[in-house]
Amino acid sequence: MSLISLEFLVFLGITAIIYFLAPKKVQWIVLLIANYVFYAFAGAKYIPFLLYTTFTTYIGCLWLSKLNRKYKETLAELKGSLDREQKKRLKTASIRQKRWVVALVCVLNFGVLGLVKYSDFLVDNINGILSALSLPVLEMTVDWILPLGISFYTFQAIGYLVDVYRDQVEAERNFFKTALFLSFFPQLVQGPISRYEQLAHQLTEEHRFDYDRFKKGAYLILWGLFKKLVIAERIVRISNWVFNVENQATGVLIFIGAVAYSIRVYTDFSGGIDIARGAAQILGIELTQNFERPYFATTIGEFWRRWHMSLGSWFRDYVFYPLSLSKGLSKAGKWGRKYLGNYIGKLIPVLTSQFVVFTLIGVWHGSSWKYIAFGFYHGIMIVGGILLGPKLHKIGEDRGINMTSFGFRVFQILRTFIIVVFGRIFTMGNSLTQSMGYYAKSFQFDLDFLTDGLLSKWGFHRAEFLLLVAALFLLFIVSVLQERGMQIRDTLLKKHMLIQWMVYLALIFTVIIFGVYGYGYASSDFIYRGF
């Protein structure tokens, strides 16, 4: 069921009531059942996939935990009688064994993920090469089903596995508690991707109903609904119109469309995350933040630390660090320092792994060259930022620009925003070729678009457009307040009850009356649902 449906709210309500009325010892079982009921609603045929990942992860973690124990026991037993060389060999042997386990579980799970999500893409590209060489093409028309949340729960499972490998967490011995960790229903649809250390204990702990916490969760859900239904579903009309080739948009219009899309993807995605976090909060569970006002970032690097944070930190801890500190890249770094100078040489591991990370992030978004190009683009921007950063900084200093001033910060924010918006255009076409077409057209300058009728072409009458502007303004104000450190919900809860009531009622009716949903509109699913 969709996170923005009445059914979900009813489901959440019923689950919460049963959860808090149940004896504390079995609360986690209630939650486990609720998780699978939710998943069944999405599609009972997906359940085997989730169980498969749960099972392979569970076994893999137990095995790793056994290997960890063996290593520690052997080390403790023989501690006195080994020298440094022998200790190192023991460690290496243990690591090698553990790596096999990790590799196996990864292949089993990423293999399935790759199969259902990317095999069509691979086959298409292989066929492209084959037909170019006049060789017979592969016939592979399998209708892969895409289990709900597979990209999210697979990553969460592997993260847990690697944490056990690193002996940072203890493997869970209870299969059902493992299943609980990998199926938590608020985060199934679109994340956030949680860490075992942060989430697992919360799921099995006892929770009592807390009215203030309930209010905070409800408010967060309402705010998410506001972002998604009042803003995202409305502003999408602009980007849909601009990026429909039939409308032949050019020049500034393409940029406006890209801005509209950037706002849309943010309000849509973060709105869904708010609903997920609010729902979890009502149950007493805290899910990690996934967004921190990303468009206020001053550099691209900072942008990726504020956007889809759980994915970014997953890639940082499980791809970037291991890769950049790996033997291979360290050697490359040494080689670089010898032949290309100290400065560049030191950067080789970092730059290479950044590039890999961003390409993978692009791939994660979808099985199309346009997403890979999108990843590439950000990779280049990040790398460029690292390489050019110090030089640009020096230029600024020489020119006497005050780089701590508010004005300069605004400049940085706008600059970053434009870079991000420009990058979105890669994802707007149906194919990479079409996206490139949009880029080409954006350089055709044409001011005729300013004729009236544009609003109605986009599907707005004046009143509705003003509403959109007002909603965006409200979002902006709230974001600025949050940026300045204000904890809005905590502040709200301290106010007089009538004021709280007014805020809640205003939000509820804003969503009900101004939300784009229902028979009149056909609401689109969350963009990230298909991941």
Partner: protein, 75 residues
């Protein structure tokens, strides 16, 4: 310790490593800094610090980093 401080100041001259105790938790050092620091440490101290050691507790202060290096030297 002195050697460590040299490395740190070389990579981030703008940070006061003698006093800071929340380098990672407060976001003073970003992931690139960490990687560069670890690269240098591995090189100059002849240790093998891997990704599994990259938790905030080990890098929040110069002392924490020193302790990490010593642990690796012991093994």
């Amino acid at each position: 310790m002195k050697k460590l401080l040299e490395i740190l100041e070389d990579i981030r001259p703008d940070v006061n490593f003698e006093e800071e105790t929340a380098l990672v938790t407060d976001g003073v050092l970003d992931s690139f800094d960490i990687v560069s620091i670890v690269g240098e440490i591995n090189d100059q101290f002849d240790v093998d610090i891997y990704a599994e050691d990259l938790i905030p507790e080990n890098f929040d202060s110069a002392e924490a980093m020193m302790k990490l290096i010593e642990r690796h030297l012991d093994e």
